[in-house]
Subunit: 197 residues, 4 copies
DNA sequence: AATGAATGAGTGTTCATTCAT
DNA sequence: AATGAATGAACACTCATTCAT
């Protein structure tokens, strides 16, 4: 099959340094925290001098915001894909939970920033980060609305219970233990027992 | 006991500045985060110069550890008292959850450090902080062990679900909404529905 | 080789600020001592802010080591040149002594640090400074080994006597008195003559 | 001879804490240098708080001066005693040299400060320290004047040679090697013998 | 697109010193 | 004679940022 057109031909490395920088920033923010990471650290990680970062980003805060956004994008993408593969409401919720957890945990430098970074740390970008969080959360709100539940169940608290527990997971999660999929299933099992009509 | 001279009674002032400093540190650590709070900030909050803090604490990290310990002490105290007032296992767990949440929100300066501060930020005190966390968690482990549950329920995941959700609550909790007691009841209701044998 | 464009020839300006900083540090270390000299002092001396020094040097200790090395380099260079100009062993020793003394006094900023600074003050660089001292001393060891001396003379003590006296000289030396060459000759004369009547 | 008045009856431990403090200061100044030793270090060494030192001394500089004076007193005492035991000029000089060296080396916290501390470090006390040094040096000047020497020998340079070498000795001296007495004899032997073949 | 050099404000911490008790 | 608490200035060093080249 000669001459097959170059597949996708993804945009010819347009500003690939920016992506590199963002990767480094994401990793370092997760490993050391936002404040403990210096622009020099990030620059060194990609073989640059710290001043050069400013050609690509206006400020450190902007980097945080960019990491945050990219993290949200990736988690949302993973969750959306997982949900689309299922039709039954409880299975959709379980798939979403598993994808969320997997993204949070499996070396996802980006997505952990989403959880770990208090919007307060972002300084001026605080508002935009809060918005991003809310947008993402919306997905779980909808998945839970779609469940068939006994009328006395408060769907808001069901969501807070599940979503809170998921977000807290990176605190206790250890690689080598149960996979994100198993954790999600256990959580849902615990909630679903007899909750279904 | 005539005429015995009043036993000095000299101002008890047993290092009350240390307590003041700790209060200020707790509040600022919560409001701005550990890294974003400077020793000068803390000193100014109690009308001192930054160097003077070092008479009372050896380092900033030691302050964090002290706040952490005090936070753990307060939450543990509240939870222990609440649990002692009940006998039925589910009510004991609910009382503990409510007290935990209330402490997290009421003494928020101290106890939120417990939740918000990654042990990693504590530098040398990392190990001791991890120990404190584990000790505290032990309480919930026991309360859940005491529940009568259908055999297929995994008590570990029940604990992780509840405890995670509780710890995540300060993120969304707004004063003026449901009280900590209501939140705790809703969480437990959601879990208990039909979970009981 | 037609038309080859002049090879850029861009300003060689090879970090001349580093040299300036080192000069200032050397002078201040000599005048006030290492501990009594602050980075601010050094920075001010070259019209910089103290933080800017760290672009050129990693730490204050590294500056001390650099001054030390440069001092050793200059003295060694002077001594080697002086020695090379003579052939007769006693004259070689005298030339070395004069050059050593002259360097100690002429380049005093640099070379006195060599004499005045206790390796202990250098912290981490202690070992390297001890090595530099030993290397330099080696020169005098050899020059004395080359002397023809009565067998009962202990060459080690001859060296310690001469080298110690030379190094101690900056303590009492005043410009305007005898030149380094005269001092060296007098020392050697004193050693070389039969002193007892 | 009954009733002979108590001999001297040296003031009954008047201010023995001052002496303790001075001992600690002397030791620490020698071990770590003047600048690197803090008032807290000295206070802790005698089980005091740093503020309490100021009851005994006006300032850190005053402590340095006191240590210096006491050092000079002790070395001078040792040298005077040694010299008094001899009559022959060369032996007197040798005895003085040995006593000087022994005082400098044999754990004499006080006397090393005399050599190691640049008068410059003493701040305001600089002048008094220079005077003390000169007074002490006077002893060697006289001992050398008493020597019978060939007329062409410059006594000043003989003194500078010997005294410089002695003062430089602590730099290379290692306990376990030759005793101070041996070192002094070797130095004098070297000077006294006809060196040329 | 990146560098080299610097800025200026800030960091945690140390220190000699003071002083009421 | 000494303490407990604080001061205020200084210290070495770091950092996000700037900007001419």
């Amino acid at each position: 099959m000669p001459n097959s057109p170059a597949p996708a031909l993804r945009a010819p490395r347009q500003d690939n340094r920016r992506a590199q920088l963002l990767d480094a920033a994401a990793r370092l923010f997760r490993e050391q925290g936002f404040h403990a990471t210096s622009m020099r650290d990030i620059a060194k990680a990609v073989g640059m001098l710290s001043g050069s970062i400013y050609y690509h980003f206006d400020s450190k805060e902007e980097m945080l915001l960019a990491v945050y956004q990219e993290g949200e994008r990736r988690v949302a993408e993973a969750v959306d894909a997982a949900v689309a593969a299922e039709t039954e409401p409880w299975r959709r919720l379980e798939a979403a939970s598993a994808a969320h957890l997997r993204a949070l945990i499996a070396h996802r430098d980006y997505s952990q920033v989403m959880i770990q970074t208090s919007p307060r740390e972002a300084g001026g970008a605080e508002g935009r980060i809060r918005d991003l969080r809310r947008d993402y959360e919306q997905r779980f709100r909808r998945l839970i609305d779609d469940l068939k539940l006994p009328p006395e169940i408060d769907r808001r608290y069901l969501r807070l219970l599940l979503f809170g527990a998921l977000n807290w997971s990176p605190i206790w999660y250890r690689t080598g233990g149960d996979s994100p999929e198993i954790v999600a299933r256990r959580f849902l099992d615990t909630l679903r027992k007899q909750l279904e009509v």
